[in-house]
């Protein structure tokens, strides 16, 4: 969708009456387009004004207590998930830092031969995994995230791709399953290959969507977080990153720590 297409749809988006498929596409555009986002926010503010013109109705007795109870109950349940998410974010930051050093060394040409580059990249990823393994057990309370629930895997370039990546997956019976995927070293100039999509596969060949990459940073990197509220990720151990033409560019297996 171009900016023109999106702007034509913004009034309906603001009024909450845009068709779901158009809404999803417009919202994806708004994530990266500051100009359209500004107009969208302006129209949304105008729309919210409309809600205030109604003659206020009396509130039902006891509704305040029911609202407080629901939020308190949700906050209590959600605390574990939020702590895990915060912890996971810091772990990912650590991984990015470590892996960044590894890729930096590769990019700087310290290892010229293909085998050396591969070996160095491999070594750096092992460092990243070790670092992850070490910090994983510290910030996350025992019982909420164990070695049985956290899985990690590395992504390697196929013949059609370049770069690499890592995937952290949480599969837990008590908190929301999620994946965090980090890619690095994809070609940032090859914008025609965007968007990249991350897929999880099980042995039966079922495919789950684990996120989408709409833009890469200057190093060809990106991070994607995806929650699976309705799905159990058990068995979905193969990870693929495909480009816009569905060509697999990165692939890997995740396994228990």
């Amino acid at each position: 969708m171009t900016c023109l297409d999106v702007r034509e749809r913004l009034p309906e988006l603001a009024l909450g009456v845009l068709a779901p498929e158009d809404r999803d596409e417009a919202e994806r555009h708004l994530r990266w387009c500051a100009g359209c986002r500004k107009e969208s926010e302006d129209l949304s503010r105008a729309t919210a004004t409309l809600g205030f013109v109604l003659d206020p109705a009396p509130l039902p007795h006891g509704l305040d207590d029911r609202v407080v109870e629901r939020v308190a109950a949700a906050a209590g349940r959600g605390a574990g998930v939020r702590r895990v998410r915060t912890a996971a974010a810091s772990i990912v930051a650590a991984m990015v830092a470590v892996s960044g050093l590894g890729w930096g060394a590769v990019m700087a040409g310290r290892a010229d031969r293909l085998e050396d580059r591969a070996a160095l990249a491999e070594a750096r990823w092992h460092e990243a995994i070790e670092d992850f393994r070490r910090v994983l057990t510290e910030p996350i309370p025992v019982g909420e995230l164990s070695r049985e629930t956290a899985q990690i895997g590395t992504l390697h370039a196929t013949a059609s791709g370049r770069g690499g990546g890592a995937v952290l997956q949480l599969v837990s019976p008590t908190i929301t399953d999620f994946t965090i995927t980090i890619v690095k070293g994809l070609d940032p100039e090859a914008t025609e290959r965007l968007p990249y999509r991350i897929q999880l596969l099980n042995e039966a060949g079922d495919v789950l969507k684990a996120g989408r990459i709409d833009e890469l940073d200057a190093d060809g990197g990106a991070e994607v977080f995806r929650e699976f509220r309705q799905r159990d990720l058990t068995g979905f151990t193969t990870v693929r990153v495909v480009d816009a033409d569905q060509t697999v560019v990165l692939v890997g297996e995740i396994g228990r720590l």
Partner: protein, 190 residues
């Protein structure tokens, strides 16, 4: 936030309130409820047509606000606007999901409201500003916005119903919203 029980909140006060909500703090939830529950419930009543549905919607709105609290940015808009946007989106989603829901009546301004509490002063100011903003529209523009916002009709549905081009409806919706936005610019954050 002590010492300013009435009137619009400053950006940092709204931020503190939302942080309290994020933490599940009961006092913060009650303060939010005291300030904003009535317009949320009223919108639910108008869109969904029953007190039960409006009550459920009100609970859902505060729960959704708790879930989204980390994303609230006072620099990008007022808390009241943010909550009403959540409320409207949830109500329209529900309208679409549930078949057989009667389309609400298209009324923009009704009779004099009952006496508000001190905490609701901000909402009264919002309502005054909203009524002034709506007054800047022609009758046709008021009806058009009401059909989309309160009636949940898409631009295509309106175009087909009125027998006018889809592009014309979209342009008119945009023009009307921009008028409201302009009329509202003088009531931005204190």
């Amino acid at each position: 936030m002590a010492g300013r029980p009435e009137g619009p909140l400053l950006a940092r006060e709204e931020q503190q309130l939302v942080e309290g909500l994020l933490a599940g703090n009961e006092d913060a939830v009650r303060r939010l409820y005291a300030r904003y529950a009535r317009p949320v419930f009223t919108l639910g009543l108008r869109l969904l047509g029953s007190s039960e549905a409006a009550e459920e919607l009100t609970q859902d709105v505060f729960l959704a606000a708790w879930r989204k609290a980390a994303r609230f940015d006072p620099a990008r808009g007022r808390l009241s606007t943010w909550l009403m946007t959540i409320a409207h989106n949830l109500a329209v989603d529900r309208l679409r999901r549930e078949t057989g829901v009667t389309r609400p009546h298209l009324v923009l301004v009704d009779t004099v409201p009952e006496v508000p509490t001190a905490d609701e002063d901000e909402v009264v100011l919002e309502r005054d500003a909203a009524i002034r903003a709506i007054a800047s529209l022609s009758d046709a523009e008021k009806r058009l916005l009401a059909r989309a916002y309160f009636g949940g009709l898409t631009a295509r549905e309106i175009a087909e119903s009125d027998g006018i081009p889809l592009g014309t409806v979209k342009t008119r919706l945009r023009t009307a919203l921009i008028k409201v936005r302009r009329a509202n610019q003088d009531k931005e954050r204190p």
